[in-house]
Symmetry: C2
Subunit: 206 residues, 2 copies
Amino acid sequence: MNARSTVSLVGDTGRGNEAAILNAALEAFGAKGFHGASMRDVARGAGTSLSNLYNYFPSKSRLLAEVLRHANDELVTRLHVAVDEAGDDAVSRMREAVRAYVRFVVDHQLAMVVSTNEVRYLDGEDRERLVVDRDATQAVFEQIVAQGAASGEFRTPHPADAARTVLSGLAGVAQWYRPDGRLSRGQLAEQQARYALALLESPLAH
Amino acid sequence: MNARSTVSLVGDTGRGNEAAILNAALEAFGAKGFHGASMRDVARGAGTSLSNLYNYFPSKSRLLAEVLRHANDELVTRLHVAVDEAGDDAVSRMREAVRAYVRFVVDHQLAMVVSTNEVRYLDGEDRERLVVDRDATQAVFEQIVAQGAASGEFRTPHPADAARTVLSGLAGVAQWYRPDGRLSRGQLAEQQARYALALLESPLAH
DNA sequence: CCTCCACACGAACGACTGTTCGTATGCCAA
DNA sequence: TTGGCATACGAACAGTCGTTCGTGTGGAGG
């Protein structure tokens, strides 16, 4: 079945066409890249006029920043819910964190791709804010790995480096995943969880 | 020490300013992205005139294609040398392949970043040719993992998927590596090799 | 000497870019 | 009714884009 979710990243915000513009911007930036997509592309996708975009966002780069912020918020929320609902041991928590991450990639692949590929076009405050938000994601994984290293559940040295490598691999999933692929959403999540636990040298995981 | 190599990706090609143009294009595309960088940027970086670029490359996208082809050629060459010089067992071959890959990332980080981030702006024959070339890289890793799975050196199921995950993680290194980081080139290569072997569930590796 | 070819340049073209301006509509509060 | 505010639009601006054109130079081969 493996159908791609058609749920938009941004739900209604209560401000006229704001959500439509944000989702259209995500589509445009995802399809053509930040500099390859024009504000006219975004307006067309949102079903509104070019000049009306500037009633919501003061510039193109700020529009990108808002798109990325919405994407990261959704990811962080999902991660915290998943980890909170997991057991107390590091293996369980890591497994659930990876599962949640992969499910986000499958549900909002475009958002993930844009997040990793276009973030470098931000500058100034917008960039700093997003870096801080992204560090929060990394901290979730780092803390779990540190816990597992302390308890003996993970035997990998340099927990912080290992956590980053796991995250790097997960982000990579968005680059090659195809909704019509061989594995279902759940199977992919399970497989990635196994890879992560193996990389962390968890003796009991397999 | 960790000094970044200052060796250019493309050596002299025997055709006037060709190498300078290719290297300048790599710098420009890496700094601003394919659509963010202009042909005028490339010309300035190469120390030549805008119109002269078209004596060497018929279009901007073809210029990108040639840059990516040079980068991939260098990577594939290094990989084959490393694997050929390794022992016969899969663990040794994988370790050397990962080491060579990481060393390429360190030596030519910009080329690696551009390869992963800008390849999607190619289309038509240029894109197809690069996909074929990239499959050759993947095949090197897939074959090693398959060998190790058959011999029992690797216990991971679905060798092809595992190989892609390893490669995906290695490509990710280029996104976060900094020459002034804590680890030396050799230490980073060693660490990534350990991660790869652990992910492949190699019982003897650690 | 002459021709050819590789290499180099400045100027220009039409298309497209992000952004601004002036204006209009309709709704809510006073 | 009046005023203000959020939302919406078309037209226009100044700048940049990739690409082409015409021209020029200098060395190699006949």
